[in-house]
């Protein structure tokens, strides 16, 4: 089933440096050498992204790869040098300041790396802040804020100030604030990068729990490939401002488009990415130990399949599409496939 596109950007550029604005009209598609010669920095180069309703779209890249700039272009926190960005079919870049404010007030939410909580407001007031600036009256906005605070598991801490909370709790407030207006499009800019590894794990689980309830359309930025694979429906890998590849985690691992992407995927535990369907082989006999679904991760069925002499059927939409053998599972686990 093809989902509708919520946000789309076409050939978006963001250049920094002297006379960056005029440069592209004379040189429509410069490469990195051209830019260097002109004394410009290509923070985002010719980005084409299509974000579909209800998916988690992860933009992955190391620091300086332009991922943060790209997401700021998408939310128009940063003005793109060139390109078009369509949100619900309308060009975001043509919108007036008022229209943009209206869209941000009702349809977008964003979570920040350093939480970006206002130090002079309590948890409750921070969460209610987006409603406050819209002029929603106090009772309504606080009632709504309390709902969201409960949703992110901070009930009972409404009157705390940010400095009285741990990093993980502060980011929960950041998440609550971004959700309070019930946005359609949810930006998360490295939301868990500033947290300790254990807390990060917990927050990722929490995030997935929320997403299973809310089904938002999400643009998620990270520099952590494991995090990207864990959360993403699709991943865009960025390097030096350019997108290297956009694919599902499984495709990335199985068919990396460039050497750079391959470098990332090399150390990923493949069993957590590869599904039964993609390694299924044609049926070789008719005795089966059982069946698995085509989108089951190898990791989740490995024990079962490996302990059985006979292969398992692989099912898709109620039909058998192939089989999976003990040998195949072992191949995936040791990284031969």
């Amino acid at each position: 089933m093809k989902k509708t596109t919520l946000l789309e950007c076409r050939d978006v550029w963001k250049l920094y440096g002297p006379a960056a604005d005029g440069y592209l009209s004379q040189n429509p598609s410069p490469d990195s050498n051209d830019l260097k010669k002109a004394g410009l920095i290509g923070a985002v180069r010719a980005a084409n992204v299509e974000i579909r309703q209800g998916e988690i779209f992860v933009i992955m890249g190391l620091s300086g790869s332009g991922k943060s700039t790209l997401v700021r272009c998408l939310s128009r926190l940063v003005e793109s040098t060139a390109g078009e960005i369509f949100f619900e079919g309308k060009n975001l870049l043509d919108m007036s300041a008022e229209e943009l404010i209206e869209i941000r007030r009702t349809k977008m939410g964003m979570v920040f790396q350093q939480f970006a909580l206002l130090p002079h407001l309590t948890v409750l007031e921070n969460t209610a802040f987006p409603l406050d600036v819209q002029g929603v009256d106090r009772t309504t906005r606080e009632a709504r804020a309390r709902e969201v605070i409960e949703l992110v598991g901070l009930k009972g801490r409404e009157n705390y100030y940010p400095r009285e909370l741990s990093g993980g709790q502060q980011q929960r407030v950041g998440i609550a604030r971004s959700l309070v207006v019930e946005p359609d499009l949810w930006f998360l800019d490295e939301p868990f990068s500033a947290l300790d590894p254990l807390i990060r794990r917990e927050m990722q689980d929490e995030f997935m729990r929320l997403q299973n309830m809310l089904h938002k359309t999400i643009v998620f930025i990270t520099h952590d490939f494991d995090e990207a694979i864990r959360l993403a429906d699709r991943i865009a890998v960025m390097k030096d401002g350019a997108i290297q590849q956009i694919a599902t985690p499984e495709e990335l691992v199985l068919n990396p488009a460039t050497e750079y992407v391959a470098e990332f995927t090399r150390h990923v535990s493949r069993s957590k990415v590869i599904t039964a369907g993609s390694v299924a082989t044609p049926l070789s006999g008719d005795s089966f130990a059982g069946s698995v679904q085509h989108n089951d991760l190898i990791d989740s069925i490995a024990d079962q399949v490996e302990s059985s002499e006979t292969p398992f059927q692989v099912m898709q939409d109620g039909e058998v599409i192939g089989q999976i053998t003990r040998q195949t599972v072992v191949d995936v686990l040791v990284g031969r496939r």
């Binding site: 404010i101 209206e102 941000r104 977008m108 920040f112 970006a116 309590t122 987006p130 600036v133």
Partner: protein
């Protein structure tokens, strides 16, 4: 020799040698060549700016007009706007509210009783931090009542209550404008530089001419003096709000105005409060100086006592200023460090216990005060005067230690002050200009050199060269001594935490004292003259030398020190070969601050009889000669600006060299 040449010492040695030779033989040269222009700037080349400025000001006040109103209407309007709230505070704190005038006046409401004021400031102290601070602030104000300084102190307080809000709000808005619009920022920067370096006496004169003698003129001068740091701190604090917070505001759909007032300003509030503290302290400092143009209050008491040579009275009023400065400083600092706390719940009385109880005391004492006068006004018979005690103490010190003090004074005069004075006074003006240009060029490139040449030429062309040299010599010697004392103290404070606490605490207190206060003990022990001026300047300018040295040493990264320890350095070697070199940029910044403070104090020491530019400004003030005051004031400002830029350029060079 080659090493010397490489490290650039040759330049400095040569420059000094030429200057010294010219300084020593300039008089002989003039006699031999019969060329008077060598030591005196030719009269016919002088700019005569002072006359032009005075004429311009006269024209402004007498006949300038904009379509609908004259310039005088404008100043009168400003005066009226300031006068009204000032009178309100005076009524509130001292005179009480009355209707009618003269004989027929009847009091409607009494002023706040002394008990009410003390309770209010105590409540403010508790609100700002804790009962300890409340006790300190309350005790300070109680001191004012007990030692008979209440009325003067309340006059000073009324001035501050007017000057501070104007300074804070005005400075805040200018800062916001500079943050929002780059052109405002660019236009403001040189104005702020001048406002902070032109000595206060210099703009007292034009203000005196525009607003007339009285509290309003004093308040205008105070606001001009106290506002620049607020502007700067506002700009810096807004710029240092994290980008993410701004973006969070924008993503929440804030309008420009909401971003400013709901995101930027509240997040910057702790830093802004530091600015408020600065405005309060500078206002206090200035209100005292401004007693010369009619502010009244504690400053006037000190000035009057000094003029009468009433030692005890001067010390009494001076101590009252100190006490008030400490109270205001600690309370406003506590506000800057105040953490957001959960609001109390309950009804109005439960939520605002402090305000309610303070209000009750105010009402209660006002009612009771009608019946029992002692509650309304602190009775004179209860007050303690320490004046005679101080007078006697000073007498005793002078009788017993006169010879010792005199000996110190003579030795320093003979061996330090006079030779240095001779050196600077001997420098022919033409070479002085060139030498300054060379120094500027050497440390900061040709723009700085050119600037130095132009500024020094301005001083010479205004006929102020000799006076300027006295200023430079006094300032130089004072800065030298302050550095020689201050840096070791700073090192000590950094190396020994316990001593550091005491030293830095003492320096903090020294810095809160209005500059005027320093004159009192100095003039009593050493009487008038260059030596007294120098002591006052050293005391006033000592704090930054100590502070920056201590700070610089403490900032040296722990790892580098550990590396030194592992390489087997002795503590001495660690200090000399690791800490001090790494701390040089900080030491230079301290030197810069010391120089700035020394120059500002030097002008005030005109009151103890120096013969420098400060005296020129002060004379202009007493003669109400605006042009001469402004020209001499600008000359001081130019010296300050050159010193500032040169030392900053040196610090910047060091920092680059160390890769910091």
């Amino acid at each position: 020799m080659r090493r010397l040449a490489k490290s650039g010492y040759v330049f400095w040695i040569a420059l000094f040698a030429i200057t010294w030779a010219l300084s020593t033989f300039s008089f002989a040269l003039y006699k031999a060549l019969d060329a008077r222009w060598i030591i005196r700037f030719p009269k016919q080349w002088q700019l005569e700016l002072d006359g032009k400025i005075s004429t311009f000001l006269d024209w402004l006040v007498e006949s300038a007009g904009f379509y609908f109103f004259s310039f005088r209407d404008l100043t009168r309007a400003i005066a009226a706007v300031i006068e009204a709230p000032y009178q309100f505070f005076r009524n509130l704190l001292i005179e009480g509210f009355s209707s009618g005038i003269g004989e027929t006046a009847t009091q409607i409401l009494p002023s706040l009783s002394w008990i009410a004021v003390i309770v209010c400031v105590t409540a403010i102290g508790r609100y700002a931090r804790n009962w300890k601070l409340a006790g300190l602030v309350g005790a300070c104000f109680l001191y004012l009542a007990v030692f008979g300084q209440w009325e003067s102190a309340m006059i000073t307080l009324a001035s501050i209550l007017i000057a501070v809000p104007i300074g804070v709000v005005g400075g805040g808005f200018l800062g916001i404008a500079a943050y929002r619009f780059e052109w405002v920022n660019r236009a403001l920067r040189p104005i702020l530089d001048l406002m902070q370096t032109v000595p206060v006496f210099a703009y007292l004169v034009p203000i005196l001419i525009l607003f007339g003698f009285g509290p309003v003129a004093a308040l205008v001068a105070t606001v001009i003096y106290a506002m620049p740091p607020m502007v700067r701190i506002t700009i810096i604090s807004l710029q240092s709000v994290p980008d993410e917070l701004l973006e969070a505001g924008r993503m929440a759909g804030c309008t420009q105005r909401q971003i400013m007032w709901k995101v930027l300003v509240p997040s910057a509030t702790p830093t802004l409060m530091v600015g408020v503290n600065q405005v309060i302290m500078l206002s206090l400092n200035m209100v005292i100086i401004a007693s010369m143009i009619g502010a009244g209050g504690l400053g006037f008491d000190v000035l009057a006592s000094l003029r009468r040579l009433d030692i005890g009275g001067g010390i009494e009023a001076g101590l009252a200023i100190v006490v008030m400065a400490i109270a205001l400083d600690r309370a406003s600092q506590a506000f800057a460090e105040r953490k957001y706390q959960a609001a109390l719940t309950g009804n109005f009385f439960q939520r605002h216990p402090l305000a309610v109880s303070a209000l009750l005391v105010v009402l209660g004492t006002s009612a009771l005060g009608v019946v029992i006068p002692a509650i309304q006004t602190y009775p004179d018979s209860w007050s303690v005067t320490t004046g005679p005690f101080w007078t006697d103490a000073m007498k005793w010190v002078n009788i017993n230690f006169f010879d010792a003090f005199e000996a110190i004074k003579v030795v320093i005069l003979q061996w330090l002050l006079l030779p240095v004075k001779g050196f600077f006074s001997g420098i022919p003006w033409a070479w002085g200009i060139i030498a300054m240009g060379l120094i500027g060029w050497r440390v900061g490139g040709w723009t700085l050199g050119l600037m130095a040449v132009l500024m020094m030429a301005f001083i010479a062309a205004s006929g102020l060269w000799a006076k300027a040299m006295v200023t430079i010599y006094l300032c130089g010697v004072s800065v030298f001594i302050a550095t020689v004392i201050g840096i070791p103290l700073g090192i000590w404070a950094a190396e020994k935490p316990r001593a550091g606490k005491i030293i830095l605490g003492f320096m903090d207190t020294l810095q809160t004292l209005p500059s005027f206060v320093y004159l009192i003990p100095v003039i009593m022990l050493f009487r008038v003259g260059d030596f007294s001026a120098m002591i006052a300047v050293v005391l006033y300018a000592l704090a930054p030398a100590v502070r920056y040295a201590a700070h610089g040493l403490r900032e040296v990264p722990e790892q580098i020190i550990e590396a030194g320890l592992m390489a087997g350095c002795t503590p001495r070697q660690i200090l000399r070969r690791i800490k001090l070199p790494l701390a040089t940029p900080h030491l230079l910044l301290g030197l810069n601050q010391t120089t700035m403070l020394a120059l500002s104090m030097l002008v005030i020491t005109a009151l103890v009889g120096t013969r420098d530019l400060g005296q020129e400004v002060y004379i202009a003030l007493t003669k109400a000669n605006a042009g001469a005051g402004i020209v001499a004031g600008l000359s001081v400002a130019f010296i300050a600006i050159i010193a500032d830029r040169v030392v900053n350029a040196l610090a910047e060079k060091q920092r680059k060299r160390l890769g910091l």
